[in-house]
Amino acid sequence: MYFRIQGFPVSMHANSSWKNVADELNAVMGSLVEDSGVASTGFGPDVNIVEHKDKFEIVAELPGVKKEDLTLKMEKGELRLTAERKPWSVAENSRVVRKELRGSGTYVRSFRIPDEVESTEIGAQLSDGILRIELPKKRVAQPMEISVK
């Protein structure tokens, strides 16, 4: 039913209040949200997860990532997002005046996908630095009304 999120919180942008939300979730639901130390191999993009009646939606911030440098892999009930951010082209032959952004490198994040998701129908779209992943629920998992005769 619920996502187990690995590698949280690993984002350098992570705002403490969002971290607290995860802590709360953790307390309520046991180990649904856990840190598996992904931070050492790459940074995790910030994500939002929303549940709708007929689907789940994951939104991830991936500024500067091109479609060809993004892979989504579904394996053994786990959806793994890997994205490569290339170095800025203007950075060549120039001097750094200010550096606030994360450097180039790999974003990695995994999500444990609940059984009620129809894993063959997962779809994703990347535009303006935002990745949207749609995870439709299986028919039987959707709420339905029973008409009374």
Binding site: V21, A22, N48, P63, G64, W88, S94, V96, I130
Partner: protein, 137 residues
């Protein structure tokens, strides 16, 4: 050169505070956050790279007024009632940041491109700032 940049950075933080307050007063619903930037310099120009995921060409405005470059990007978000949030690490936000440009920047010749949620602004230097080689006779 260092002095020019110092000027740019010092004024920027002051402006941000002022503008942050004003933005808060007029649009309490979605807050403006200051997007992170990288700035690079070569002999001809400064290159400002701004990460603004979710901003499109239509929702971005760049203005230069009395030596101040303002960057404002709006993020179109879905209505809050659509669905049950399980995890929210990305807040509802818009972006605002301003830089004071020194006299050494050619403010009539600024170029900008927005791609994959990343804005790149090229601020060309006028002759005053460009280093020149002096030929020795």
């Amino acid at each position: 050169m260092a002095e020019e940049l110092y000027h740019m950075q010092k004024n920027e933080s002051k402006d941000m505070m002022k503008i942050g307050n004003r933005a808060l007063a007029t649009t309490p619903a979605v807050r403006f956050i200051s997007p992170p930037v990288d700035i690079y310099e070569d002999n001809e120009a400064f290159h400002v790279i701004v990460e603004m995921p979710g901003v499109t060409k239509d929702s971005l405005s760049l203005t230069v007024e009395s030596h101040r470059l303002s960057i404002k990007g709006m993020v179109v978000t879905e209505p809050a009632d659509s669905g049950n949030p399980i995890l929210q690490e990305i807040p509802d936000r818009n972006y605002y940041r301003a830089f004071n440009l020194s006299d050494g920047i050619d403010s009539k010749n600024i170029e900008a491109t927005l791609e994959d949620g990343v804005l790149t602004i090229t601020l060309r230097k006028n002759e005053k700032l460009q280093s020149k080689e002096i030929r020795v006779k």
